[in-house]
Symmetry: C2
Subunit: 168 residues, 2 copies
DNA sequence: TATTGTTATACTCTATAACTATA
DNA sequence: TATAGTTATAGAGTATAACAATA
């Protein structure tokens, strides 16, 4: 018998890097990747978005669109440039989104009170109604997406994540 | 004077939703979005990737490629299908990546010991050398990316993130 | 019949350069 | 000159359908 028995899923605590050339893998060892914040943050974000997408499809809002409309709701008169800075979006990529939101009647562009180049963004009455429901859904969805976390753990997680991506 | 004074950055604790039609925004209020785990996780992941990309460009490895090579390093003989399942990648999107890694001489495909359809993936000697440096860089980069977090906080963050995206 | 790896392809997301109008 | 918004376009990332070889 040249072929060894299938490797047991339990590997030495050190590592499994040294193995025979023709080895096969039973249980995939992801322990190293799981020591990296970037890896875990990305996996967690994609998992939450996976729950977010089908639920928010009822409102026709994908994650970025939801963020944009939410910021307009809480910052009446915000400009495209301010949205881009706050959400790390590039201006050309926001144009189409703003257009479609305006066409759907969720937002409207009013002239900026002090800068003739800029447009202040505001929710329409329909936009306010849709967003009230959408934010309610998004907040409820949090519990479902992070079902194994207690309220205190959720707060801790958010605090730590903000420390990662916020300057200072 | 019809135009009101620019709104102060301090807003009432309740919210700033109600404001005059022609209002302009001084400081953008992102407090609602920051109550959402998905929003924070996505922002944090993008921030870490922003540090990761230029540093790992020296090895010619972007995040997904790094994850793939790392899993091959720690799981010699892993198959494409297993990589896809572990990293949530779709098979057609892995083909080109595996090809380029093989062409660069970092990995090699050996026949699977017990499944004639599958190929076991292994690092070459050069792949082992590159990956040793790459993982060293990635781990050092963690401290830089999460500079404001203590070691204990980093561990807490990782534990909480895993609870979000891992089943069970 | 089910699965591995693959091709072809489409769709979405993100990035860069350049233009206009206002400041 | 600098900035807000826009256009056009390119590139990267991600998705589905269908196929050949093997289980």
């Amino acid at each position: 018998m040249v072929t060894p028995e299938p490797a047991k899923s339990l590997r030495p605590p050190g590592d499994a890097t040294a193995a025979s050339p023709a080895a096969s893998v039973d249980q995939v060892d992801t322990r190293y990747l799981e020591t990296l914040i970037g890896y875990n943050a990305r996996r967690a974000a994609l998992a939450v978005i996976g729950v977010f997408l089908p639920r928010m499809a009822a409102f026709g809002l994908k994650p970025v669109a939801f963020s944009v409309v939410s910021l307009i709701a809480h910052n009446p008169g915000i400009t495209s440039r301010q949205l881009c800075a706050a959400l790390n979006i590039l201006p050309p990529n926001l144009v189409g989104l703003i257009n479609s939101l305006a066409q759907r009647g969720l937002i409207e562009r009013l002239p900026h009170p002090r800068d003739g180049r800029a447009m202040g963004l505001h929710l329409t009455e329909e936009g306010r109604e849709v967003m009230a429901q959408a934010e309610k859904t998004a907040s409820a969805l949090e519990v479902e997406a992070a079902g194994r976390l207690s309220a205190a753990e959720r707060q801790t997680l958010i605090t730590l994540l903000r420390k990662v991506y916020l300057p200072d």
